[in-house]
Amino acid sequence: MAVFKTALINEVEKLSKKKKAWVAVILSLAVIVVGQLVILAVRSGFGLRGVGSGEFPLLVLSLVVNTILPLFAALVAIDSFSGESAQNTLRITLTRPVSRFKVFTAKIGAIALFLLGALVLLFVFSVLAGLLFNASSLTWSDFFRLVLSFLVSLLPLVVLALGIVLLTNVARSGITVFFLAILAFLLLKVLGLVFSGYADLLPTAQLDWYNLWLADVFPVAAVVRQFLLMLGYGVMFFVAGFYLFDQKEL
């Protein structure tokens, strides 16, 4: 466990030193600023309230969870695998007395932590912006719902990241993986639209599953089903990704 911890710290530190991490922070803040400006424009221009302080963070979440968060997941996953392979720094990591399984898991852990960090950042700033610029409608129960929504959104994002990690171990070049990932993401979204009856089954459909957690009558069956689906996809992606990572000749 101590070895894994060290490996994880190592991965997190590598990630935090990257410019991409800062790009993610700036993009997240930009989304909040632009979102708030749009709301203010709609409010003064059309006389619509747009959102109250309780809803603004959810508006931000609904936007980022299908756009920039998957993008971050792709960026860090590609950087952590394809990038290190390309720069030959992966070799250094792997020559340490740490098993490949631990390295792989530590990398996934770092990606998950990064996504969690992004969610926390978005949460804090969107709540602040929501409170500052919108008619106060935030209650404690709303606040709790918000925390829940942001937290549960981590799971589908990690599953998505695992899928992208699998891709990085299939294709070598980071750019190929990046475009493959975007293409696959769009394709899945379109499929979801065309076969709307079966849309729930696609690994991209769970991205906004936080909506389920907000229902008045908690839809236990639906939450369990979606959770099991994500778990299944996650395990498949993880195992396949690790198998390829383990076989990799450096």
């Binding site: 619509l48 109250g52 709307s196 009856g197 089903r225 689906l229 395990v235 498949m236 198998y243």
Partner: protein, 413 residues
């Protein structure tokens, strides 16, 4: 060791795959409340269109402003598919308590309209009988599938907000509600915007901070899968120009009853004041247009607003010189009276040769022409089969300026 690792990986992968497969199966066999509700709606519409000979639909709405009723309406529509006749009676209550009743009867040969404001009954006879469907399934309509897909996509993960309660006798009760945090912000904005645009006159004019506070609904479906009632409520909140908060609720209730026990009775007109007219056919497409009849001069007045009055500023002339089923040629010009030259910024004068527009249907011709000052002009001509009038519409109507009148009347010499 190597072998063990591979087995473990293979096992884990299989387990993951099995998990996905079984959950997917469970997901497919399980129908969310939303899907069941959709199924019930479709089933009811299909039965109304196929199985039931006659039935009664009762659709009513109430609009309340801060709890006070400002408008309500109740429409009872009796439909007899066997005799192909329908009778609908509407009662509207306005804010001041005024009541307006109206009645509409229709079958292939006749149409009767009556409203409480006018004493006469308006009767239209169709000879020969028109093509008339007393009820058509909205889910079978063209484009219904696409609409359904879009709605499905918008609903997305809100599907499970519809709660189903199954009763021992096989009937079902659906209910669901979305409060302001649960309604997706984009939908909230769109609905609020629509509500702002299309709000009933008797309501206070909301100007700011408009938002959808709540959407809720419930439905009863009997054990034969027929939806007997559907109630939807939309609660809007907003402020008027004085800054006063208004909570406006709209409740719509639809009920289906009298299945195979409804009788459509034609209104008894004996002793009533009746205004009759006969139409050769209600479907205009059956009427043929003979473009040759339109050869000649057509005019309308150029009217402008000046000094708070409408003033005739000139004449638009459309001269059809040749016309057959395929082509129409002629000339269009505008002439302004002395003193009104300043209005003639868009003045047009051109010759055209128009061709039958396949998309436009009967009597529609489109043209491309070059104006006197060399600019491109395109548009359509429509010959009205019932009246000796021509409609001339230009593409990019903005160019014509305000006050362009597209209807041209014939000039009889």
């Amino acid at each position: 060791m190597k072998f063990k690792k591979k087995t473990a990986l293979l096992l884990s992968f299989t387990m993951g795959a099995l998990l996905v497969a079984t959950t997917a199966l469970a997901d497919m066999t399980h129908k969310s409340g939303y899907d069941q509700l959709k199924g019930a709606l479709k089933g009811t519409a299909a039965q109304c269109n196929g199985k039931f000979d006659n039935f009664t639909m009762d659709i009513s709405y109430v609009i309340k402003d801060n709890g006070k009723t400002v408008s309500s309406s109740d429409t009872v529509q009796k439909i007899d598919r066997k005799d192909n006749a329908s009778l609908s009676q509407t009662e509207l209550v306005t804010q001041d308590g005024g009541r307006q009743a109206s009645e509409h009867y229709a079958d292939p040969q006749t149409m009767i309209d009556h409203s409480s404001q006018v004493s006469a009954y308006f009767v239209t006879h169709f000879d020969p009988a028109r093509k008339f469907d007393v009820f058509s399934d909205p889910f079978q309509a063209k484009g219904a599938g696409d609409v359904e897909r879009i709605v499905d996509a918008v609903v997305g993960n809100l599907k499970d907000y519809v709660v189903v309660k199954e009763n021992p006798d096989g009937s079902k009760e659906f209910s669901g509600s979305l409060n302001e945090t649960q309604i997706p912000p984009l939908i909230n904005a769109l609905v609020s915007f629509q509500a702002k645009q299309g709000i009933v006159h008797s309501l206070p004019q909301l100007t700011q901070d408009i938002f959808v506070k709540e959407i809720k609904g419930n439905a009863q479906v009997n054990r034969d899968g027929v939806m007997q009632s559907l109630l939807g409520t939309l609660v809007l909140s907003g402020k008027d120009a004085q800054g006063q908060v208004h909570v406006i609720s709209l409740e719509v209730l639809a009920k289906l009853s009298g299945i195979n026990a409804t009788q459509v009775v034609k209104p008894d007109l004996s002793g009533k004041k009746v205004q009759e007219n006969t139409v050769a056919s209600a479907t205009y497409k059956q009427q043929t247009v003979d473009p040759k009849m339109f050869v000649g001069e057509f005019k309308n007045d150029i009217v402008v607003q000046k000094g708070g009055k409408f003033v005739k500023a000139g004449v638009r002339t459309l001269n059809i010189t040749q016309a057959d089923q395929q082509t129409v040629s002629g000339q269009y010009k505008e002439e302004y009276k002395p003193g009104f030259e300043s209005y003639a910024t868009h003045k047009l004068d051109f010759q055209f040769k128009a061709e039958l527009s396949p998309q436009g249907g009967q009597g529609a011709f489109k043209f491309n022409a070059v104006g006197a000052n060399g600019n491109q002009i395109s548009g359509q001509l429509y010959f009205d089969p019932r009246l000796d009038k021509i409609n001339l519409v230009f593409n990019g109507m903005g160019r014509m300026g305000q006050g362009y009148d597209s209807t041209f009347d014939p000039v009889f010499h």
